[in-house]
């Protein structure tokens, strides 16, 4: 099968790659580009561990083809911090211990970033429904919700 040449923007950088027409964007990120921060928990769109932002839309990268990234903007967990400075969500996740094993964390951070971009002052219920596409088996979500609440107020203050 012939490869598809793709030219795209990932975390602000221009990136070009060749991929198979049936290859998912998640596989491209992880296996071709070495961006293993996005995780594969299911490969079927059910766990959110592979969450990325594609042109301002939160998507499961396991459900997007690598070829579909052509000419678009991709944001992954690797681009969330600014150099040495963590994003407020990352900082609050650490402070609240909103991660135990941490495998779900990149997906939650991306989903929470998207949530706060659209709704800077969410209620607890809005957070819970906004993050309902991301599975976490370790925390029971309590500390994740608190971290997002705290980050939202920190970001409003900033």
């Amino acid at each position: 099968m012939a490869g598809v040449a793709v030219s795209t923007t990932i975390n602000g950088d221009n990136v070009e790659y060749l991929c198979q027409p049936d290859e998912t964007l998640l596989d491209v990120l992880r296996d071709r580009l070495g961006l293993t921060g996005s995780k594969e928990g299911c490969g079927t769109g059910d766990c959110g561990a592979c969450s990325i932002i594609l042109d301002d839309r939160l998507v499961c990268s396991c459900l997007v083809l690598g070829a579909e990234a052509e000419g678009r903007r991709v944001e992954t967990i690797e681009g969330m911090a600014h150099g040495d400075t963590l994003h407020p969500l990352q900082q609050k996740f650490l402070e609240h211990a909103a991660l135990q094993c941490g495998i779900c964390t990149p997906g939650f951070l991306i989903a929470a970033k998207d949530l706060l971009a659209k709704n800077p002052d969410p209620t607890e219920e809005e957070i819970r429904f906004g993050l309902a596409g991301n599975l976490c088996r370790c925390t029971g979500y309590d500390k994740i919700v608190r971290a997002v609440q705290d980050a939202a107020s920190a970001m409003k203050g900033a």
């Binding site: 995780k39 928990g41 766990c47 211990a97």
Partner: protein
Amino acid sequence: MNFDPRYSTRSFASVGTRPIRPDGVDKVTGRARYGADFNMAGQLVGRVLRSPHAHATIRKIDTSKAEKLAGVKAVITAADLPDLTDGDAAMYDILDNCMARKKALYDGHAVAAVAAVDARTARQALKLIEVDYEVLPHVVDVDEAMKHTAPLLNDAIFTEGLEEKPTRPSNITKRTQFGHGDIHEGFGQADFVVERSFKTEQTHQGYIEPHACVASVSSDGTADLWVCTQGHFVYRQHCAQLLGMEASKLRVTSSEIGGGFGGKTHVWAEPVALALSRKAGRPVKLVMTRDEVFRASGPTSATSIDVRIGARKDGTITAAEATLRYSCGPYAGMWAEIGAMTAFACYRLENVRTVGYEVLVNRPKTAAYRAPSAPMAAFAVESAVDELAKEIGMDPVEFRIRNAAQEGTRSSYGPVYGPIGIGPTLEAAKNHPHMKVPLGKNQGRGMACGFWFNFGGQTCTDLNIGMDGSVSLAVGTVDVGGSRASLSLVAAEELGIAYEQVKAVVADTSSLGYNDMTDGSRGTFSSSMATISAARNAIKILRERAAQMWDIPVDDVVWEKGHTIAKGEKYGNLAALSLREIAAASGKTGGPIAGHSELVADGAGVSFATHICDIEVDPETGATRVLRYTVVQDAGKAVHPTYVEGQYQGGAAQGIGWALNEEYIYGKDGRLQNPGFLDYRIPVCSDLPMIDTQILEIPNPNHPYGVRGVGETSIVPPLAAIANAVSNAAGVRMTHIPMSPPRILAAIVAERGG
């Protein structure tokens, strides 16, 4: 080594604080490397062919077409993993589970595997493997499997533990019994007796990270294995034994682990990946799909349990009895046995008897899941306890307090308890504000208790002090939820230095002595004990070095708050030496300074919890909503309270999923119908409320800081607590877990006489 593990009262500087974990930044930036995040140059992709049949004889496997496909570098079957287990039955079962030999015993059982240049070629190759199956009748239900007429999984199995030797083979591998006193006499004294039967369905640990490994076998017989596991030392032993290697030639590195909960205590794919790499002569990466994780790894037992409890009018339990039947998958296990031991562990009973039956079924091999076997037994017992309280007319909390085990009580599984926390957790629950929140229409409150043993075990730890006075701590238990933070706190505490001065890492199998599996909530308990011991050994050396620097006898040097101090008037003007100063001089006082510890951490204190929850039931649909949830649990001593809370909340959430939703659903053909997160639905954020926690600290007398394991007990009470709440809300006793909407609705309809 004269390490004294006994508890003594003390105040803490570091332990009990809540610093940020050392591996935190890597985990929020995506840099942390989990099982599937590692690659080697020239690596191949491994894939496993799995049986579509629940039970079938494998007549023949023809791999020739697959081998000829361009890009395929190795194809293996059971023939490539010869039996080297030398009569070790448990190891043979592990081998057979990794790769079916004569029979496929469940839907998803591995029968062959390939390694190819890429995933697509590997998938194509699997399709070219021809397996000639003779499909056999199967059985997946635990009660069905016990019948004489049930299809036999293994005709060499005769039930162990019966008074008379059985003459026919059976799916029941073992009968076990625990208890004391005379239950007939006990029931004779009872004014009230409750007797009920319960069922629970099979669930999966549901870790979000699928099993993943990279194996690389060299032609000189050495090998490397990178893998997500709860016990890399145990994986090394098992893999080495199954592949006929020397353990020391196989280096196993544990990656960051994306959840395990007991499910990553068994090898599945790793020996296969090693065998593929050996045959192909190249590294092989093998990552399970979610479908494979559900079909072939994990699950708990499905159970069927009968309980009978009798009490006097005054609320004293006079006798308690349970018969527990647990599915083991196709291989012998001790799951019912654990259920039988834990069932009545919360209570002070004069007459108690439990009997367990281990039952083979055509389902995946049962694996431990957080306090394995205890939640199902607690569901049955705590449901009956609630019902009995109701019949007597007592408050369920009061009834439990009245019968709670205490120090000196003979436990239902045998030994006499030391200081324990069941009474205090019940008292705390009774006084908790949660108990006073008013309930609305269709809402019910439930509570339940739970018990887990907690383990200790073999542990090895190295504590190395750098020339700059910073401390690196190498541990061999895997960090499943923040233990590097906790152990750094312990090292800082013992040395009297700042938390930031310590960096803990999980060492690979070539860098440290053997460590048991990180299971049974032993991680923090055992490794903290070993860390304390290692730190004390290092302090001894630090004192010797200071004595040299000062040129005074070592007996006059004491260690206090990270410094050596010269004791006595005559040393009046000697300024205290800090750890940093001693470390800086170490090159001239005898070389590197380190403390090591190899020990068997015994005396892990048992732990108890009481949970309270409020549930609303929609009587029209049977749907439920968790309104409020509170966990009260004894931690002995919470080293890092935030992570202790996290363990409480996580266990409760898993229990809630188990109680209300999660179950393996098999079709008539014995195939698993819901091997994915869409149809096997674990709780999501919007399903749950905040989970309130209360940590009690009843020191474990057998740990210097009083630590007990905390990881597992929290999954024990939820099934029962929720069942009691649902039963109270719906006005009908629920006896089958999970209490999915159809089951609740059916129970309500039946109760209405509809």
